[in-house]
C-alpha cells in the first residue's frame, strides 16, 4: 500500500538520532499522580468574526512533553498566544499551577514561569548575547547599576547548560538562526521556566542541535517543568512527546498518550474531516497548456527545479507546508523576484518576466496571500483599487475617466457580489471576503490568461468562501488557467483538477484529482524523499527551507 510505504519511509529515511538516551525512559501518562501545571478549559477566540479556536481544552502536567499538532491555521499559534497573554480568549478559563488567571498578560506569564520559544527567535539584534539574556532575567528598576561581569558569567553558565558554545559578548544580530535559538533556550533555562512552549523550535536547527535541544528538554522535565511542543515534524513529535493533542479547524479533536498512536492514525486525525460538499466541482473542458514551468529555480527565494504546467480552464492546486516554497513560487512567476534558472512558457512561448509589470502585460494576475498588506490599498476606494492594474482601460487621452472607472467598478461589484455601500467606499471598511473580491476584480480587469491565487479564502467567513469558490470556477469556465495555493486541504481537494505538492522549495509530487487524498498530500508535504530515494542529502536541505513565510 502506497501510503503505508511512504509513511514507513518517513521514519526510516529522515530519522534523527533517537533522543531516548538523553532522557529518562518516557513517562507513561499518569493523570492522577502528577500535578497539572497549566490548563486551558473551553477556550474560544475569534478574529473579525472568524473562529480561530472553539472550546479548546488543553492541559500540561509537570515533567511532561505535550505535543500540539495540526495543519496550518488549525489554531496552534492562537492557543499559544492565549497561554502567554499575547491574546485574550473570548471565552474559557486559564489555570496556572492551580490558580485561575482571569486575564493573562505577557508580564504575568513571565512571573508565572511561562516562557515561549518561537520559530523565529526574538532577540535584540544590537545587544550582546549576555545583555539579551540579562534583559529577560534581571528584575529591578531602571536605575540599578549594571553588573557587567555578573551578566557575562551568568550568560556563560546558562549557555553551557544549554550546550551551546557561544561567546556572550557577541551581538545577537551576528548569530546564526540556530545560535539565536540556543540563546532563547538559555533564557528559558535561566528563567527557571516551569512551562516552556516551543513553537517549531527545530525549524532552523540541524541534527546535532536538535539532539542538544532534546537533551535540554530532558533537563527541563527532570526539574519538573512541562513542555508544550509544536512541530510539523511528526518523527520529532513521536520521539519527544508523552501526549499529543490534535487541533483541527480551531477545535481540539483528540488528546492521547503518544504510545497509543502511530503516525498513520495521527495524520488521519490531523486531516480527518469528511469532505463537505461546499466545493461543488463543475466539469470544465480543459484547453491548451497556458503556463508551463521548466526547472524553474530562484536561489534567493530557496526555490529549485520546479516544473509544472497548467491548462486553460484548469484549477491547479498547490499544497505544501508553510515555508515549502509555495508563495515563493508565485512571486517568481509574477516577477517580484525574477527566476535565475529555468524557463517560463506562456502558451508555448518562452518568456522573461523581470517585473510584475511584465507579468501583467503577459496576462498573469496574482492575488497575494496577505491581502491587507499586499493585495489591496486600504485607504483607496473600491473603484480605484479595482482599476489600479488597468488604468489604461478606463482612461482616455491619458486622463482617468472617473465615470468609466466607476461604471467598470460597479459591474465588478455586481458580478462578484462585492458587498459595499458604494464603489467610493474605502476598501479598508469592507469585510475580508469582500476585500478579497476587490483584489480579484483588479486582476479580472486586465483580462488575464493565468491567475495565481495565494490562500484565496484565508480569514474569510464561510459564506464568502463558498462565493469565492464559485467565482474561481466561473473564471476557469471562461478559459482562465488558475494556480491556487492553499493550506486548506479540503479546499485543495475540492477545487483542484490536479494537485502539485511542494516541499523544501521544489515539487515533491503531482497528483491527479482521482489520486489526491488528504493523506497522500500530507505525506508528500512532510517529506520530499520518495520511498526509493536516498534520504541523506535531502534532510539538510529540508531544514533550510523552513521559516520563510
Amino acid at each position: 500500500m502506497f501510503e503505508r510505504d511512504r509513511i514507513a519511509s518517513l521514519s526510516d529515511g529522515t530519522d534523527h538520532p533517537h533522543p531516548e538516551g538523553s532522557r529518562s525512559p518516557k513517562n507513561r501518562y499518569h493523570p492522577a499522580a502528577v500535578p497539572v501545571l497549566l490548563s486551558a478549559s473551553s477556550v474560544s477566540k475569534s478574529f473579525d468574526g472568524v473562529r480561530a479556536l472553539r472550546e479548546v481544552s488543553f492541559d500540561l502536567n509537570a515533567g511532561e512533553v505535550h505535543a500540539l499538532v495540526g495543519e496550518n491555521g488549525a489554531g496552534k499559534s492562537t492557543l499559544i498566544k492565549i497561554m502567554t497573554g499575547a491574546e485574550h480568549a473570548d471565552a474559557g478559563a486559564l489555570t496556572v499551577s492551580g490558580q485561575v488567571v482571569p486575564r493573562m498578560t505577557p508580564a504575568m506569564a513571565r512571573s508565572l514561569g511561562i516562557v515561549a520559544i518561537y520559530q523565529q527567535p526574538s532577540l535584540f539584534a544590537h545587544l550582546s548575547v549576555a545583555e539579551n539574556i540579562a534583559l529577560s532575567l534581571e528584575t529591578g528598576g531602571v536605575w540599578q547599576r549594571v553588573d557587567w561581569t555578573g551578566r557575562r558569567r551568568r550568560a556563560l553558565a546558562l549557555l553551557e547548560e544549554a550546550g551551546a558554545a557561544i561567546d556572550p559578548d557577541r551581538l545577537a544580530g551576528t548569530l546564526s538562526m540556530p545560535e539565536q535559538q540556543m540563546v532563547e533556550i538559555a533564557k528559558a533555562i535561566g528563567a527557571h521556566a516551569k512551562i516552556v512552549i516551543m513553537d517549531e523550535p527545530t525549524a532552523s536547527l540541524m541534527d546535532a542541535e536538535i539532539e542538544r535541544l532534546f537533551s535540554v528538554i530532558g533537563l527541563l522535565r527532570a526539574q519538573g517543568g512541562g513542555i508544550v511542543y509544536i512541530s510539523h515534524r511528526l518523527e520529532e513529535v513521536f520521539a519527544v512527546s508523552d501526549r499529543i493533542t490534535v487541533l483541527r479547524d480551531g477545535e481540539a479533536v483528540a488528546t492521547q498518550p503518544t504510545a497509543d498512536l502511530d503516525r498513520s492514525a495521527l495524520m488521519q486525525t490531523m486531516v480527518g474531516r469528511p469532505l463537505k460538499d461546499v466545493f461543488p466541482k463543475r466539469s470544465i473542458a480543459l484547453g491548451e497548456c497556458a503556463l508551463e514551468l521548466r526547472q524553474l529555480s530562484n536561489r534567493a527565494l530557496g526555490l529549485h527545479d520546479v516544473s509544472l504546467s497548467v491548462r486553460g480552464g484548469e484549477v491547479l492546486g498547490v499544497a505544501g507546508l508553510v515555508g515549502s516554497g509555495r508563495t515563493e513560487l508565485a512571486e517568481t512567476i509574477f516577477g517580484l523576484e525574477p527566476a535565475d534558472a529555468g524557463e517560463i512558457l506562456l502558451r508555448g512561448v518562452p518568456l522573461h518576466i523581470e517585473s510584475p509589470l511584465q507579468a501583467i502585460q503577459h496576462g498573469i494576475g496574482y492575488v497575494p496571500e496577505d491581502r491587507r498588506r499586499h493585495g489591496v490599498v486600504l485607504e483607496m476606494a473600491v473603484a480605484s483599487n479595482a482599476s489600479l492594474a488597468s488604468l489604461g482601460a478606463v482612461s482616455s487621452y491619458g486622463l482617468i475617466d472617473r465615470n468609466a472607472e466607476r461604471r467598470s467598478a460597479e459591474s465588478y461589484v455586481e458580478r462578484l457580489r462585492i458587498r459595499t455601500p458604494s464603489v467610493s467606499t474605502e476598501v479598508g471598511a469592507l469585510s475580508g471576503g469582500n476585500q478579497q473580491k476587490v483584489a480579484l476584480a483588479r486582476w479580472l480587469s486586465i483580462g488575464p490568461q493565468v491567475l495565481i491565487l495565494d490562500e484565496p479564502t484565508q480569514g474569510v467567513d464561510v459564506g464568502a468562501k463558498a462565493e469565492i469558490h464559485a467565482l474561481i470556477q466561473d473564471l476557469a469556465e471562461r478559459g482562465l488557467a488558475i494556480i491556487m495555493i492553499s493550506s486548506e486541504l479540503p479546499e485543495i481537494l475540492g477545487m483542484s483538477d490536479r494537485v502539485v505538492v511542494m516541499h523544501a522549495g521544489t515539487v515533491s509530487g503531482v497528483l491527479s484529482r482521482s489520486e489526491a487524498t488528504q493523506h497522500r498530500i500530507l505525506s508528500l508535504a512532510l517529506s520530499a524523499a520518495s520511498p526509493d530515494a536516498a534520504p541523506g542529502p535531502s534532510s539538510s536541505v529540508s531544514r533550510e527551507g523552513h521559516g520563510v513565510d
Partner: protein, 326 residues
C-alpha cells in the same frame, strides 16, 4: 469636486477654509486695513514661491517621504540663475537652468531614497547641509549684485510681473491638482504612499515614482527661486532659510499625512493661504510679531491632532494587525 477616494472627503479642506474665513471675518471687523491692495499683493507675491514648492512637497509627502533640502536648493538655484543672467543669457534660459538644476538635485535625493533605501529625512538632511555650505564656500558669502535689468521682474514691467507670476503659479497649481486626480501617474503617487507593496504587485514602479516626485519638487523649487529672485535687485546667498519648515507645515495643515497616501493640492493651497495670512494679521491686530511662530506652531499641532482623531481606518488597521492568526 467630490472626492471618491476617502470617506472623510474634503473634511480637512473644509476646516482649513473655515479657519481662513474666520480669520478674514475677524480682520474685516478689527483691522480693515489688512485688505488694502498693497498689503494683499505683497502677501501674494511673497508667497507664490512658497506655494510652488508646497505643491511639489505635497507629491513627496503623499508618497510617504519628506524633503528638507528645499531651502538650500532654493538658495542655490536663485544664485545660479543670477550668475547666469549676469553673463548676458536671456532670462528664460537663466530660469530654465535654475529649474534643471533643481530637477537634478531632486533626482539625486529621489534616487538615493528610492534605490539605496536611505530614509528621505537622512538623505535630504545631508543634501540640505551640503548645498547650503557648498554655496557659502563657492560664493564666499558674496551676494549676486548688479543684475541686468532684463532679470528684474523677469524682464517685464513692475506692473506686469504680479499678473504674469500669479497666472503662471495658478496654471501650475491647476495642472497638478488635475494631474493628481485624473492621471494614472497621480493615482500611482497615492498608491505608492499608501501601500508600496500592493502598488508594486499592481505593476507600478514605486522606486521610479519616488524618484520622479523628488525631481518634480526640485524643478518647482528652481522655478520658485527664480520667481522670487526677480523681485529684488540682488540675490542673497542665505536665501530660503526656514523655507522647508514653512512648506512642510503648509502641506501638513492642508491635510496630507506624513505617513503617506493622503493629501491634495487644494488642501495645500488652503494651508499655504492660512499660514501666510496669519503672520501679518497679527501685526494688524496689534499682537506682537513675536507670537507669529508660536501661533503657526499651534495651528500645525491642531491640524496633526485632528488627523489622529479623525482617522478610524488607521486605528482599525493597527488593531487588526496585532490580531494575527494561528
Amino acid at each position: 469636486m467630490a472626492s471618491t477616494d476617502r470617506a472623510t472627503s474634503h473634511a480637512r479642506e473644509w476646516s482649513v477654509a473655515s479657519a481662513i474665513a474666520a480669520l478674514t471675518l475677524v480682520l474685516a471687523v478689527a483691522a480693515p486695513g489688512y485688505f488694502s491692495w498693497e498689503n494683499l499683493s505683497d502677501l501674494l507675491l511673497a508667497n507664490l514661491p512658497v506655494l510652488l514648492v508646497a505643491i511639489g512637497m505635497t507629491l513627496v509627502i503623499i508618497t510617504g517621504e519628506i524633503d528638507i533640502s528645499v531651502g538650500s536648493m532654493f538658495a542655490v538655484c536663485a544664485v545660479a540663475s543670477g550668475i547666469l543672467a549676469k553673463t548676458g543669457v536671456p532670462i528664460w534660459i537663466a530660469g530654465a537652468a535654475a529649474c534643471l538644476l533643481g530637477t537634478a538635485f531632486g533626482s539625486l535625493n529621489g534616487a538615493l531614497v528610492a534605490y539605496l533605501g536611505i530614509p528621505s529625512i537622512v538623505v535630504t538632511l545631508a543634501t540640505m547641509t551640503a548645498l547650503r555650505d557648498g554655496l557659502r564656500w563657492a560664493t564666499e558669502g558674496a551676494w549676486v549684485q548688479d543684475l541686468p535689468s532684463s532679470f528684474q521682474w523677469l524682464g517685464l514691467t513692475q506692473g506686469q510681473y504680479p499678473l504674469v507670476a500669479t497666472i503662471a503659479a495658478g496654471l501650475i497649481t491647476a495642472a497638478f491638482a488635475l494631474g493628481l486626480r485624473h492621471l494614472a501617474a497621480g493615482r500611482a503617487v497615492y498608491a505608492t504612499g499608501s501601500n508600496p507593496l500592493a502598488a508594486r504587485l499592481a505593476g507600478l514602479d514605486p522606486s521610479a515614482i519616488r524618484t520622479s516626485v523628488f525631481a518634480i519638487l526640485g524643478a518647482l523649487t528652481g522655478l520658485a527661486a527664480v520667481l522670487n529672485a526677480a523681485r529684488f535687485n540682488q540675490i542673497p546667498t542665505n536665501g530660503g532659510i526656514g523655507l522647508e519648515m514653512k512648506v512642510i507645515a503648509s502641506v501638513v495643515v492642508g491635510g496630507a499625512s506624513v505617513t503617506g497616501g493622503t493629501g491634495s493640492v487644494l488642501g495645500t493651497v488652503l494651508g499655504v493661504v492660512l499660514l501666510a495670512a496669519i503672520g501679518p494679521a497679527l501685526t494688524f491686530l496689534g499682537v506682537s510679531a513675536y507670537w507669529e511662530r508660536a501661533i503657526q506652531g499651534a495651528v500645525i499641532l491642531v491640524a496633526i491632532a485632528a488627523d489622529g482623531i479623525r482617522r478610524p481606518s488607521f486605528r482599525r488597521l493597527a488593531g487588526v494587525e496585532t490580531g494575527a492568526r494561528a
